[in-house]
């Protein structure tokens, strides 16, 4: 018998009114050469135009062991079980879930049910959010944040109803919750079809190509400016800004190359970890110390920088210079000295949402047994709170990298392409609720050889 290719399935989630049916109709009406079967849980007012459409009530089936990770969607098993007998009629499946659907059981169905997983493959989860309402929805319902957490693609819809600034803030909030997702802005669910279909969402190379920095470490500061200064007295002038105080580390002998900047950042991270000394305006900024500039006063504040011999000073500041219109002035000449180089850093955010992402990136090999033990324990203890896991691992002695993907407690590890000349490394992302980043990183580090 011939080996059949599995039929890809895309899940469309999102609250009622987020534009799922509009997107669905858009996909169905476009010329893409695909014959799409649609399973519809949401019976909206907007009808579906064409194709093989099957309505089914959402049925969430928990198992007797009470494990939420074994929970599946009975309606999908039933309908897909029938569709698999009609393989010649379609080559793609779209599932439109209800607004309140928990994506977990939907995704798990493709892992848990042998009959389904032998014929279908979950291509990706596309979550639509209504840009005007998602902020409130996230605060009010777990389903909403879980739909964001599970998304391979987030369509930020109805952007015409929201200001650009608000969209930026919203995007950064969503990004915090799910660092793996691709965010697409849209009006009236108008998105290019290839951004939602045939994602092969578990293809990590694709994700990394799109977003190589999602594993970049976060820093407690957002900005660095390097100033080339002669000996003398300087003033750091700071105007009113968004915060009544600002942390800062000043380093002397700061180089300007990327490597030197990163070294400086490393030193600053360590200094930032120490308790800050408060500094009122008019005082001198010490070097190599974590200080906290007090900025409550109205108007422009000034702090002193004393330079004994010519050097390059690196200022690692909590906020960007722009936000406070920060300037360095040579006191006797009253002349502004602009920076030679500036560098922005991925800033740590206040992680307000319970749902967030944790990334682990380490060079080197891991011990497969230790990793399995650690992952097994992690997922059995925290599996309920870990929504999705993706990443790849370098097993010692294995020429291929190992691709990990998981939904709650279920995970698969499959050998992928050969490492070749690439440096061996490990990248893992966990998306979940109330995850302890430090503990997880330490746990992973113990698996390294």
């Amino acid at each position: 018998m011939s080996i059949k290719e599995k039929v890809p399935v895309t899940i469309l989630t999102g609250f009622l009114g987020s534009g799922k049916t509009t997107l669905l109709n858009r996909i169905l009406s476009e010329e893409h050469g695909k014959r799409i079967a649609v399973i519809e849980n949401e019976y909206g007012e907007v009808g579906i135009d064409q194709g093989l459409v099957i309505n089914a009530d959402e049925e969430v089936f928990e198992m007797s062991n009470g494990c939420i990770c074994c929970t599946v969607r009975g309606d999908l098993i039933r309908v897909l079980g029938n569709l698999m007998k009609r393989r010649d009629k379609f080559d793609y499946v779209l599932v439109e879930t209800t607004g309140l659907a928990d994506p977990g059981p939907v995704a798990q169905t493709f892992f848990m049910d042998e009959e389904i997983s032998s014929e279908f493959t979950l291509d990706g989860i596309v979550t639509l959010v209504d840009a005007a309402h998602i902020d409130q929805q996230l605060g009010r319902s777990d389903e909403s944040s879980e739909q964001v957490a599970f998304a391979d693609v987030l369509v930020l819809n109805k952007t015409d109803l929201v200001s650009d600034d608000a969209l930026d803030t919203l995007e950064s909030r969503l990004r915090d919750m799910n660092r793996m997702t691709r965010i697409i802005r849209a009006e009236n669910a108008k998105v290019p079809i290839e951004t939602v279909l045939n994602l092969s969402a578990f293809d990590l190379d694709q994700i990394l190509k799109r977003r190589p920095t999602f594993l970049e470490p976060e820093y407690p500061f957002e900005w660095t400016g390097v100033y080339d200064l002669d000996a003398g007295k300087y003033e750091l002038m700071i105007e009113e800004g968004p915060d009544p105080e600002m942390s800062l580390v000043a380093l002397s002998n700061q180089g300007e190359s990327e490597e030197e900047l990163k070294d400086g950042a490393e030193s600053s991270v360590r200094l930032y970890a120490e308790k800050a000394n408060s500094l009122d305006p008019g005082n001198t900024i010490p070097y190599g110390e974590h200080i906290n500039l007090k900025l409550e006063e109205q108007g422009t504040k000034s702090f002193i920088l004393n330079i004994e011999k010519p050097t390059k000073i690196g200022l690692f500041t909590q906020h960007t210079a722009e936000e406070f219109n920060m300037k360095v002035i040579k006191s006797d000449e009253n002349k502004e000295i602009s920076f030679n180089t500036e560098r922005f850093w991925q800033a740590e955010h206040e992680h307000d949402d319970e749902v967030g992402s944790i990334a682990i990136e380490r060079f080197g090999d891991v011990d497969p047994e230790k990793l399995n033990t650690w992952m097994g324990r992690l997922l059995s203890e925290k599996g309920v709170d870990i929504f999705r896991t993706k990443g790849f691992i370098s097993y010692s002695g294995n020429p291929r990298r190992i691709v990990f993907q998981g939904v709650h407690m279920l995970f698969t590890a499959q050998p992928d392409k050969e490492w070749g000349n690439e440096p061996r490394r490990n990248q893992l992302v966990f998306i979940g609720r109330n995850l302890n980043e430090k503990e997880m990183q330490e746990g992973f580090d113990k698996c390294l050889i």
Binding site: M1, I54, N55, D57, E59, F61, E62, M63, S64, N65, C70, V72, G74, D75, I77, R78, N82, K85, R86, D113, E114, E115
Partner: protein, 357 residues
């Protein structure tokens, strides 16, 4: 396809006939006391063949728009019922295939059909409801909504219907409109079979286990360790052996003595891919199995549930359904490509099977 006959065939399957239907064949059965064989395909084509020769008697297409979901032949073999995604049930005459009555059940899929053993009632499951009609299509009873879509129905005696859904098996007295018994268990029940005396209720569950209850004692047990969900169950005519499968293996539980609790089940490992259909012969301890790999095997079982294959054949593609002729002298298999295979099955008499080892 590798040779799927690892054992020496004993000449039990003899060449019969083959035929073709239009699409993936999902249902089949013998009518007119074995003189006719009816096949239904997934898109709604129904085909009747001469039981002995395979010559087409009648055929019809598009009986249910959206596709066929179930077919059930009346125990007398003169009429049959079909149902589909269109929410309809058709009761038809076997001789010409003519529709005697169309029942409009509703919008949902009509997924299950079962005639009562005496043929007086036809039970129909669609979404969360179960309906009972008589043979001329008059409605006799409707259930309340079940807690989920009804996943299986079967008659426990002439007036009592068992239904399975998420978390429960329910027994309804459909004549007096009352609920006789509820057997609760938190799990998604995907299949159900009753022993011929109606005492043992066996259900395959989504969590890869078989749960069963003895109605007379109220005792229940859970058999775990299946590699896949046991979608396929079959009792032998004595009710002593229950064949189950959720993978390429068939597990047979024996209810003889104190079993099956605490006993080792029989295991039959004849297929390379998961079982897609399973049926005991009408009489005796022969079980036929069809697999996704296209293999069909008949095994003769001992009292402990173990057994040996007595014949095998290749049906060409995933076996959609199998059916023993009422006299057990032929076995039919229909496949995913729409091919119908009927093999003569000799040596199958009660007398012979006793001495058969």
């Amino acid at each position: 396809m590798p040779d799927i006959e690892p054992f020496s065939p004993r000449g039990m399957f003899h060449e019969g006939w083959t035929a073709e239907v239009s699409d993936y064949a999902i249902a089949c059965g013998w009518a007119l006391k074995g003189k006719q064989f009816i096949v239904g395909d997934v898109v709604g084509g129904i085909f009747a063949f001469e039981g002995d020769t395979g010559k087409i008697i009648w055929e019809k297409e598009n009986t249910h728009s959206g596709g066929l979901l179930a077919m059930a032949i009346h125990p007398e073999g003169e009429i049959f019922a079909t149902s589909g995604q269109d929410g309809n049930v058709q009761i038809c005459n076997c001789h010409e295939g003519k529709v005697i009555k169309t029942l409009d059940i509703g919008k949902g899929w009509v997924e299950h059909l079962k005639w009562s053993n005496d043929g007086l009632f036809l039970a129909i499951a669609s979404s969360k409801k179960v309906y009972v009609f008589n043979q001329i299509g008059e409605e006799k009873w409707i259930s309340e909504d079940h807690s989920s879509t009804v996943s299986a129905i079967t008659w426990s005696n002439k007036n009592e219907l068992a239904t399975a859904c998420y978390g429960r098996v329910t027994f309804f007295d459909i004549v007096n409109n009352k609920t006789n018994q509820k057997l609760e268990w938190q799990g998604s029940l995907v299949s159900m079979e009753l022993s011929p005396d109606g005492d043992i209720v066996a259900c395959g569950s989504q969590d890869n286990s078989v749960h069963f209850w003895r109605r007379s004692t109220g005792m229940d047990a859970e058999m775990t360790g299946y590699p896949g969900k046991p979608s396929h169950l079959s009792f032998d005519d004595s009710g002593k052996l229950l064949a189950t499968s959720g993978s390429e293996r068939i597990t047979v539980w024996s209810f003889i003595g104190n079993g099956p609790e605490g006993t080792m089940p029989g295991e039959l490992c004849h297929h390379t891919e998961p079982i897609s259909s399973l049926a005991f012969s009408n009489k005796g301890m022969l079980v036929a199995s069809g697999s996704r790999d296209g293999s069909v095997v008949a095994s003769f079982l001992k009292k402990d549930g173990n057994g040996d294959p007595v014949g095998a054949a290749f049906a060409g593609d995933l076996v959609g359904a199998i059916s023993w002729r009422p006299d057990d002298c032929a076995l039919a298999a229909v496949n995913a490509k729409g091919v119908v295979n009927v093999w003569k099955f000799k040596v199958r008499t009660n007398l012979f099977s006793k001495g058969f080892k």
